[in-house]
Symmetry: C2
Subunit: 317 residues, 2 copies
């Protein structure tokens, strides 16, 4: 019997999703969401962002949310940090992984953090040095979260050469993992193929995560191309929470439930129960009644014959 | 230089899309839609259905719409016919292709046309005989449009064996082309792979069209799998018009503009200009202001860097 291949889906809604909605989700509901995702089988979550509370009140409870997530022994807990100060807090909180966003688009990087991408890499290097100092056993992994990799609403095209340059720099700075993010939903399957073709050989096995937005409906096709390149971890947000801050009405993060549904159909084992994910949407709906919820599967429900389809042994892509 | 591969996108909105909306689109607007699609580069359209006007008033102008479409010398014009009577009219009108729907789900077939799938194949055989009689040069091609192939809202699972049986029967009945339709949006990429694996070797090169609905967001992933199996013609509906009659709020036919956008990004030449398709949506909006319009690309617009991405020479899938 063929061994099913495994794909990891990281729930990032508590960070990326909540960051882009206006209402503040109470800490209690964030915990309920973590609980429900865990019960559904999610074992990777990016649960908070260590940014100044006055800039992002939504993340003021980062410590409490991280502490709750860490009560699950086999849950890999990730936090986003934009700088050294945030990294210090995240390391003190004991997260398993820190992701530091580095925008490859110069225009986006300057507008967001008033630093060039190269300067952000230097901040990333300092974060790695801090990690080495504070965390002697090196348990906390550092993810370089390269954003606006496939295009940018400000700059337009982001040349592949610029991405290659930043990948080499973050590897030199000591990144454990490299993630490519389509922050603005520009990526197309053909482009994803071209970029991974060029980047994987130079990434020393560390380019393992893709973060696709569904702004133009390409998140799932892009995921299929990434699978063909051996990428096996994908970010997603329950109910596609957050939308696209750059295009009102358009979707942002791919919906976790749609992604899991597709991966399972392709013969990948995610360990996640789609129906329980669909049920967990009610937590968002109750806590943030104004938030727009996305996701194709939720509108139509699971197919009538779903249970009979789910025992595919062969990985297709 | 590598030759770009070609993919055909057939616009079926004037038939499948309009069939599922409540308002009636005036004949004049149907003609404008055909004109706009033609100008955008669409060269295959399913423009009408020859059914009794009392059952489907939307299609009462089939003859006039077909006649208009036939004024374009290089446009392949298809009409749907549910029975011999409809086929007689379609043949008299001079369409290039007739598609006869045959539901593989027994429950769906009985509910829709009060005939078993096998009885529908016999009607198909009579249509082929009529075609042979009326159309001595055999110019009009007959498409067996197998529906509910991947699942059914009434029956649930549709066994692959049932599909195989109907494929063999329609080939025996003289089908020129076989199209597989995911009428109810049940298909998943893994299932599409499994079905095409089994069906293509037995279809004698005649299984060349796929018709995917986006009800659960899988139309584009399913298309990628179908491309891998050599399928090169796909049905789609501008703005995903029609929705899903079985699931309120869910999408039906995949949006033509999203499909073309993906195919072009994958290095397939469709001959269709995406921006002109996006512009053509206004015809639907004006003629049917109540109709829900779908499509991810329309919400976000083309990516800023789009023109620079479109000259990919390599077909990826």
């Amino acid at each position: 019997m063929m061994q099913k291949r495994h794909a990891t889906v990281q729930e990032v809604g508590m960070r990326d999703g909540l960051q882009s909605v206006s209402g503040i989700m109470p800490t209690h509901d964030k915990k309920r969401w973590i609980d429900a995702a865990y019960v559904a089988g999610v074992r990777y979550m990016e649960v908070a962002s260590y940014v100044p509370a006055k800039l992002l009140p939504q993340m003021a409870d980062a410590d409490e949310v991280v502490a709750h997530a860490l009560t699950y022994g086999d849950l890999t807990v990730t936090a986003l940090v934009p700088n050294l100060k945030g990294a210090e807090k995240a390391l003190a909180a004991g997260v398993h992984r820190i992701v530091a966003p580095i925008s490859v688009s110069v225009a986006h990087s300057m507008a967001n953090v008033r630093k060039t991408p190269a300067d952000m890499v230097e901040e990333f290097r300092r974060i790695r040095e801090l990690r080495d100092d504070m965390d002697k056993v090196g348990r906390t992994k550092l993810i370089a979260g390269l954003s606006t990799v496939f295009g940018c609403t400000l700059q337009g095209e982001v040349p592949l050469e610029d991405v290659q340059d930043i990948v080499l720099r973050v590897l030199d700075a000591g990144s454990d993992i490299v993630a490519l993010a389509d922050t603005t939903g520009h990526a197309t399957p053909g482009q994803v193929d071209r970029f991974f073709d060029a980047l994987i050989p130079q990434a020393q096995g560390k380019l393992t995560i893709a973060h696709f937005h569904d702004t133009r409906g390409m998140a799932l096709p892009n995921t299929m191309i990434a699978l063909q390149h051996g990428i096996h971890e994908f970010d997603a947000s329950l109910a596609g929470l957050g939308g696209c801050p750059h295009a009102p009405g358009a979707t942002g993060n791919v919906a976790t439930e749609d992604l899991v549904f597709m991966l399972e159909s392709l013969g990948y084992h995610t360990g996640i129960d789609v129906q329980q994910l669909l049920d967990a949407r009610s937590i968002i709906q109750q806590a943030l009644p104004q938030a727009v919820m996305y996701g194709s599967l939720a509108h139509a429900g699971l197919p009538k014959a779903y249970s009979k389809q789910s025992n595919i042994e062969k990985a297709v892509v």
